[in-house]
């Protein structure tokens, strides 16, 4: 019989690591329509006896204080309208934090759902000279206990064996059906004394935190970690990105070589290949950023980071936890916005989600890279800072600061309310599991490719169509480059650009730039493709020739104004779709679009005018 097993446990208990290691790549995108928060869903065991497993968010109690806890709680009570009550529970307890696990267990035992228990971190107990008595725990609770070390694979086979057969799952004795918190805690403590003896806890983590949480040293280390994080965005991913660009360029060459010149070749080359290529080229960056974020999260450092930035976030009406979704948004706002569900306060969660699009996402990088390398001189400031890098860093910093101020504004107006308490646990520092890391990164990349990717490819095709029709009759002996330019100018896209041009004229945009901007409102990367088509270069030649052409065709003030516009504008349909999903209404993505557009317009206008004035 096909069972649904929920993985339940406290936060930081190693639950998700175990889930990832057990399900491997067999995780599915949660297919519960209309659900705003989705638990991870996977499949384990061999067909036809495979079972569905559900990774619910970690909870301290069935009495929820944040949206992700509400999800777990409602699923377990059977009150969730979209996700049915699970038929079995794999309860995960962290041996180093067993009192909290037992407290939660005392509540779960009243649900009437059969349980088995996996206890993690037993190796850590042993390493600290302690003893964990799983036999005693099994005797006390009457539930099978499996000691597990997720990242070493110990105990996994036994878990898999038991998951495959429902006979191992025992319906627990309901504990303290109507008791208050104190009774449960006292029971949990007494039980802990019987099963765990640990002389001193986690001195390694405490000692390390003397440095990492030091008011000065800790901040310095934190800033270094952040600089490294951004450095990886800028430089480490680029060799791989170059390879991908060249690869797709070669594919376009092949198509031109193999197929007769005409509309079909054009579609395949500049519609399909260019479209897919513009998505794939992001993969190295998304992968790298996700690896870094997952490592920081799994080893326990992110909790410390939230502690360090909490006071700073508080200035803007946010709290330390907002840091995590905002950090993720520097990779891509889509997973960033989704991770805002860890913020308990509704007001702060909304403010965080609504400013996430201002955190410079990786899609803006190709636009920045193109314009900065074409228009900003390669001079060095004080001998070792490159002006180009300084401009890039400046764009990031301006966007982030303005975003934080917008959050403050929102907290003072539409999301007015009291200061919410900030509460976070510091788990012991742990070595992340390599397999779990790979699975998580694979999943997040797959998510990005499917959700953002399909949008971008569709848009590229539409854009190709709009720029390729109506077909123009070329006078004899026009070169192919001039043909492309004429085709583009007289196409639907060109006409559209000319009609809309007056709106953007004050910013210094001509009709070509306008088309680029309009096209990128669906996906930012499209700007580079459009510029390539409009200025009629072969993308297989790389960006160099495009840069030169742009430099000679577009005035500096306009180029800087375009840059300024991209800093703020919300140009991503996928982000708007996620906002709708997470907030439940189109009101908020519309609001986000409008306020970011206003910011973008003002900033671009100011940049244009100031640059013109400085040049004169």
């Amino acid at each position: 019989m096909h069972e649904t097993t929920a993985f339940v446990g406290t936060p930081n208990s190693g639950k998700s690591t175990l889930f990832n290691v057990l399900t491997g790549m067999r995780q599915k995108v949660g297919n519960f329509p209309g659900v705003t928060l989705e638990p991870a869903l996977g499949e384990i065991g061999k067909k036809p006896n495979s079972n569905t497993v559900l990774d619910l968010p970690g909870i301290y109690s069935l009495d929820p204080i944040s949206p992700d806890e509400e999800l777990a709680s409602s699923v377990l009570y059977g009150t969730n309208p979209h996700i049915p009550k699970p038929s079995r529970i794999l309860f995960i307890m962290d041996a180093t934090s067993i009192e909290k696990g037992l407290f939660l267990y005392s509540q779960i035992s009243n649900l009437g759902i059969p349980i088995i228990i996996a206890v993690t971190m037993v190796d850590s107990i042993k390493a600290q000279g302690g003893v964990f008595d799983d036999i005693a725990l099994e005797r006390i609770l009457g539930i099978p206990i499996i000691p597990v070390v997720g990242h070493k694979g110990i105990g996994l086979e036994e878990v898999q064996r038991m998951l495959a057969d429902s006979k191992y799952f025992i319906k627990p004795n309901p504990l303290f059906a109507n008791a208050d918190i104190t009774e449960r805690i006292l029971w949990a403590r007494a039980t802990t004394k019987e099963v765990l003896s640990l002389p001193q806890l986690n001195t390694f983590s405490s000692t390390l935190d003397k440095v990492l949480l030091h008011p000065i040293g800790g901040i310095a280390i934190f800033l270094s970690v952040m600089i490294l994080f951004f450095q990886s965005i800028f430089s480490w991913a680029s060799p791989l990105m170059d390879v991908i660009e060249t690869l797709f360029g070669k594919m376009q060459e092949q198509v031109a070589y193999l197929l007769p010149q005409g509309i079909i070749a054009d579609f395949i080359s500049r519609g399909l290949i260019a479209g897919v290529g513009s998505v794939i080229v992001f993969l190295p960056q998304i992968l790298l950023l996700n690896v870094i974020i997952v490592i920081l999260e799994d080893c326990g450092y992110l909790a410390r980071a939230a502690f360090l930035v909490d006071r700073f976030m508080g200035i803007f009406g946010l709290q330390g936890r907002s840091f995590i979704p905002l950090l993720g948004s520097f990779a891509c706002a889509i997973p960033g916005i989704m991770s805002a569900r860890i913020i308990p306060s509704h007001r702060e969660r909304m403010a965080t989600m609504l400013i996430a699009p201002l955190m410079t996402c990786s899609a803006r990088l190709p636009v920045y890279a193109l314009l900065i390398s074409a228009f900003i001189p390669t001079t060095m400031i004080w001998g070792f800072f490159s002006l180009q890098a300084a401009v890039l860093a400046g764009l990031y910093i301006i966007a982030a600061l303005v975003g934080l101020f917008i959050a403050l504004l929102m907290k003072k107006t539409i999301f007015k309310g009291d200061i919410t308490p900030f509460l976070i646990e510091f788990p012991p520092y742990r070595m992340p599991s390599l397999k779990s890391l790979l699975v998580t990164v694979y999943d997040r990349s797959k998510d990005f490719l499917t959700s953002a990717g399909t949008v971008i490819v569709t848009l590229s095709i539409i854009l190709w169509f709009l720029s390729a029709f109506p077909r123009v009759d070329f006078p004899p002996e026009t070169s192919s480059i001039v043909q492309q330019q004429m085709q583009l100018e007289q196409s639907y896209a060109g006409s559209l650009g000319k009609i809309i041009e007056p709106i953007f004229a004050p910013l210094g945009f001509d009709w070509k730039l306008t088309i680029g901007i309009i096209g990128s409102f669906a996906a930012r990367e499209v700007f580079v493709t459009v510029m390539g088509q409009l200025y009629a270069t072969d993308t297989s030649l790389g960006d160099e020739s495009l840069r030169q052409i742009l430099y000679s065709s577009i005035p500096l003030a306009s180029a800087l104004s375009v840059l300024a516009f991209y800093v703020f504008a919300l140009q991503c349909i996928s982000t708007m779709a996620i906002l709708k999903r997470e907030t439940g209404s189109w009101k908020w993505p519309a609001f986000a679009f409008v306020y970011t557009f206003v910011l973008a317009y003002i900033f671009a206008f100011a940049t244009y005018r100031i640059t013109l004035a400085l040049i004169a």
Binding site: S97, K100, I181, T182, I185, L201, D310, E425
Partner: protein, 101 residues
């Protein structure tokens, strides 16, 4: 240690002082490194309920590990747990300082 013995001679040791007056203070008023016993909370809110659910029930011995500058969050330890929270809100956490060593 010697100082305590010295005080004992004059009947001024801390134990007797503790028995005479238990001063309830808000946890954020403690000095870093002090140990204290949790007495109770000033309010019943989701925040204080969550603190209890994590093990902070009256009678628990807490140690204040660190504070952040500019009235930022504080870190405490009790049992096998280390956690941090913003202390300067309406929810007061009352403790009495432990003077034994």
């Amino acid at each position: 240690m010697i100082f305590t013995l010295f005080l004992c001679r004059f009947g001024l040791n801390n134990d007797s002082k503790n028995q005479k007056q238990k001063i309830k203070v808000n946890i954020c008023d403690l000095a870093v490194g002090t140990e204290a016993i949790l007495e109770g909370f000033s309010t019943d809110s989701p925040f204080t309920r969550r603190l209890q659910e994590m093990g902070l029930i009256p009678g628990t011995i807490i140690r204040l590990i660190r504070k952040s500058p500019f009235k930022g969050p504080i870190e405490i330890a009790f049992g096998y747990t280390r956690m941090a929270f913003r202390p300067y809100s309406e929810d007061k956490i009352f403790v009495t300082e432990l003077f034994n060593k």
